[in-house]
């Protein structure tokens, strides 16, 4: 039996797969493929944070920390100690989840701006540790010598193969998030978003659930970090700093909170925008700042909701 809602979900997945594979198969230009790969990596980050921020209502200004933990764990294990990168992926996710557990235990008891500042502090500390622990991480000058990913005879080099690897994982992550949100857990998460006291009252263990979703988003962040590290093959602390945490938050908010496709749209916009703005040269920052402000002022619900509203008003005006 297939309900209407199920049908639309399947159609959405089908459209997504068609667009992604069509782009990957047709495009020869490595620059475009590279940008699309970055969009995929950022989508993973935005998806993870969206689960925490959009659905559960817990703001995190330190999400780049898990991205960095994922990237550096795999870099150190596979680069320095020559461990199989796929095994390093497991370790990276485990490390991020463990740290999320330890940090989340006290931090997630906070709320509002206090939670925001707590996660900000955590993100800054992780970044400082990466920068100052030079013997292991390469310090401020970065980590060189990350091996290329291989699976059997398949080598994932920049280009179409890496593009398909990343977007395959993005597709899997979207399905996992969707299934999770449609479950009892998903409803509980939304209940926490709407009113934590009410959620406690109807028997939801809010602290445990917030912690679990924090760990889940950390795991997605670590996977993104792993993909990033083996894609660019050189990482440095700046890529995982405070400004990047803010950028992930912006992806979620600009795309539209509490929307899986919104995360994808937000990641795409925020990845493409700097590329487009290169043309403005020194005016790049001014334009970028203005775009952020204007979108937030006029479409506080994000682009997905904002554009849908515009279409709806246009339809109504025509009728």
């Amino acid at each position: 039996m297939m309900t209407d809602k199920n049908k639309t979900i399947w159609i959405e997945y089908l459209v997504f797969l068609c667009v992604v594979s069509a782009f990957g198969l047709i495009t020869e230009n490595t620059y475009y493929l590279q940008i699309m790969t970055f969009i995929g990596i950022n989508t993973l980050l935005a998806l993870g944070l969206n689960m925490l921020m959009g659905y559960t209502g817990q703001v995190s200004l330190g999400h780049a920390a898990f991205y960095g933990i994922g990237a550096y764990t795999t870099a150190i294990l596979s680069g320095t100690y020559a461990i199989n990168p796929w095994l390093a992926l497991v370790c990276a996710v485990a490390a991020a989840v463990l740290i999320a557990f330890i940090v989340g235990l006290p931090t997630l008891r906070l709320s509002g701006y206090y939670l925001a500042m707590g996660t900000l502090g955590f993100g800054m500390i992780v970044n400082i540790v990466i920068r100052e622990w030079g013997d292991v991480t390469g310090g401020a000058s970065g980590f060189v010598g990350i091996p290329v990913l291989e699976a059997g005879s398949l080598v994932f080099m920049s280009g179409a193969s890496y593009y398909f690897l990343v977007w395959g994982i993005v597709f899997a992550a979207i399905i996992i998030c969707r299934r999770l949100l449609a479950s009892r857990t998903g409803r509980a998460l939304r209940a926490i978003h709407d009113g934590e006291n009410a959620a406690v009252a109807i028997g939801i263990n809010t602290h445990a659930l917030k912690l679990e979703i924090f760990m889940f988003s950390a795991a997605l962040g670590a996977v993104a970090g792993f993909l990033y590290a083996h894609f660019v093959l050189f990482i440095s602390p700046e890529s995982f700093g405070f400004m990047f945490s803010i950028k992930i938050v912006t992806m979620v908010v600009i795309g539209g909170m509490a929307s899986v496709w919104g995360a994808l749209l937000g990641a795409a916009v925020l990845t493409l925008l700097p590329e487009v703005l290169h043309g403005f040269a020194e005016y790049e920052m001014i334009v970028f700042g203005t775009v952020l402000m204007v979108v937030m002022i006029f479409m506080p619900q994000g682009l997905t909701r904002g554009i849908m509203d515009i279409i709806r008003t246009a339809r109504r005006a025509r009728a």
Partner: protein
């Protein structure tokens, strides 16, 4: 002994700067419940405006200071009018992103106006440094601490003694009730924005001679200011001030006695400890705790 006194001096100096930044943030938060991520950029504007007015144009010192503060206030008011007030139905997270956008915008604008190179600036007075317990006390340190005390004292008097100040406190306690009793709460928010941006500019003006000023100096100072305000207690004037001093001193001692590499981490470790143990801040009045 001599070393520790020296660390204390430099700690109190940077601490006073953090204190001024934190006071501005705290004022704004208590009147509007807004956390302004662009606050550090007003510090940057203050410092760079000072470079232009005092060093380049050669205005007399008091005039240059007044001009730089005015520039900070004006920018703050323009930002409030254009970006904050136009946002309808603002959620905290939307406002955070708007202020982040403003921060990037101001940084970009400053990069075009002043270029990418950092500027240095001479000290405000050419006195020799004073020696106490064998440690050198720079005249600029005295300037900074005096300015911070005068500023915080002035704001304190303003809030406690004038009608407008009392109206602002009323808005901070309960906006709706203040509005019902005839206080134009929206105007108070604007005023708070002006004062807060002005505080930022003051911090920038006084820090300019002891550090290099450049278009990207603001972000980290702004974040340290948040830490200070959080440590002292968001929304409390003297709490924020004390938080700033404490942070400056601990950073300086930590950098000197433990490791300079970890200097930046101290602020954040302290922030997390405070949040875990006493989330309202060290010196917060009870009503300042909102969450």
């Amino acid at each position: 002994m001599q070393e520790i006194v020296q660390y204390l001096f430099s700690g109190i100096t940077t601490g006073a700067v953090y204190a001024v930044i934190a006071v501005g943030l705290s004022m704004l938060y208590s009147s509007t419940e807004l956390i302004n991520f662009a606050h550090g950029e007003f510090v940057m504007i203050g410092a760079l405006a000072m470079v232009t007015l005092w060093v380049r144009i050669g205005l007399p010192l008091p005039l240059a200071v007044a001009g730089a503060v005015a520039a900070g206030c004006m920018l703050g008011l323009v930002f409030e009018r254009l970006a904050i007030r136009t946002a309808r139905n603002p959620q905290p997270i939307t406002l955070i992103i708007i202020t982040v956008g403003a921060s990037i915008f101001l940084k970009g604008a400053a990069m075009i106006v002043w270029g990418k190179d950092p500027f240095s600036m001479p000290s405000f007075s050419s006195h020799e440094s004073i020696e106490i317990f064998g440690a050198a006390l720079l005249p600029q340190s005295i300037w900074i601490v005096t300015a911070a005390l005068v500023l915080a004292g002035g704001i304190h008097l303003f809030l406690k003694q004038t009608l407008t100040g009392k109206a602002m406190v009323a808005c901070a306690v309960n906006k709706k009730a203040a509005w019902l009793s005839g206080i134009p709460s929206e105007k108070m928010g604007i005023l708070a924005f002006g004062i807060s941006a002005g505080c930022g500019a003051v911090a920038g003006i006084f820090i300019a001679p002891i550090t290099m000023s450049s278009y990207d100096m603001g972000t980290i100072l702004g974040i340290k200011g948040f830490c200070a305000a959080m440590i002292g207690g968001l929304g409390s004037l003297w709490g924020a001030f004390a938080g700033g001093l404490l942070l400056g001193i601990l950073e300086s001692l930590g950098a000197g006695l433990i490791s300079s590499a970890l200097k930046d981490a101290i602020a954040f470790v302290l922030l997390l400890l405070i949040l875990y143990i006493r989330p309202g801040g060290l010196f917060a009045a009870k009503e300042a705790k909102r969450f």
